[in-house]
């Protein structure tokens, strides 16, 4: 069940990114848009799913990314990216896990249930580390397709997009929980 929830959450986040964020971004940064999004919401799903389920989130994320690519990427983009698509999918699915493992290695075991209570800032920091890992990995994976001159820009857009996506995802969830709280309180009156 958790597997399907994570995959569905990833597909939903990717759908919002693909149908809302990317069209707007492509007006301003058309040369980078095929590779990266400035607000990449699925990164929030990657980080939160890995926080909650550890390595068990990886297969669900792989399914989510694969389904998202199939559902939302234009065929032309998919054909263009195809040779390196599998590498890109795996790097994306493993990036958050690698960041959590790195944090664990330096003494901040932040997985759900391992620490009494995780501060939201710790999740943001781990998300930032994960976005750097993902950014480097994706740029390497698609280095053959990205023009040499575009590599620094794409690298920055990947990292910034992932991090902004995580923050937006957390803020959206925060408001959702807030509304649920208000709704349940007003219902109890």
């Amino acid at each position: 069940m958790n597997f399907l929830i994570v995959a569905a959450a990833y597909i939903l986040a990717h759908g919002v990114t693909a149908l809302v964020v990317t069209p707007v971004q492509s007006i301003f940064f058309p040369e980078y848009t095929v590779f990266a999004s400035l607000i990449y919401l699925p990164h929030g799903v990657r980080v939160l799913a890995t926080w909650a389920f550890g390595w068990r989130a990886i297969p669900a994320l792989v399914l989510g990314v694969t389904m998202s690519a199939w559902l939302f990427s234009p065929t032309a983009s998919l054909e263009f990216l195809e040779p390196d698509l599998v590498k890109g999918i795996l790097i994306g699915a493993f990036s958050a896990f690698l960041a959590f493992e790195l944090a664990r290695f330096v003494g901040y075991d932040s997985y759900f249930g391992h620490m009494r209570k995780v501060n939201w800032k710790v999740l943001i920091i781990i998300g930032a580390i994960s976005s750097i890992i993902n950014s480097l990995g994706q740029t390497l994976a698609y280095s053959g397709l990205i023009g040499l001159g575009n590599i620094p820009g794409t690298l920055v857009i990947y990292a910034v997009g992932d991090l902004v996506g995580l923050v937006v995802c957390m803020v959206v969830l925060m408001f959702c929980f807030r509304w649920v709280r208000w709704f349940s309180l007003s219902k109890g009156q």
């Binding site: 069940m1 249930g113 209570k117 925060m174 929980f177 309180l185």
Partner: protein, 100 residues
């Protein structure tokens, strides 16, 4: 692994985030209970019982569970404090914190 406790934990994390970025504000029942407690306390620093607060017209319309949840929440936020030295539920309103 308990899926619900992960969700509960995430809610707690995001509630902290809400507090830290200054977005937390009182819900309608919390506001009613706070105003009722403030009205019943009359003098600054005076202690009031939970029953006294609940008897005020601002709070008496709330369901018991909602009232207690709101009171607990106000104690958690620090706008109402448990009075020192009393075993029974006596509360002090920290109206001095309002607006800070």
């Amino acid at each position: 692994m308990n899926k619900l406790s992960a969700l509960f934990s995430l809610r707690c994390i995001l509630r902290d985030m809400e507090k830290d970025i200054g977005l937390q504000e009182l819900s309608a029942p919390e506001m009613d209970v706070f105003l009722a407690a403030n009205a019943m306390a009359r003098d600054e620093g005076a202690a009031v019982t939970s029953d006294q607060i609940y008897s005020h017209e601002m709070a008496s319309g709330l369901a018991q569970a909602t009232y207690h949840r709101a009171l607990r929440s106000l104690v958690g936020i620090g706008l109402i404090e448990k009075a020192n030295g009393y075993k029974v539920g006596l509360y002090v309103v920290r109206s001095d914190l309002v607006g800070k």
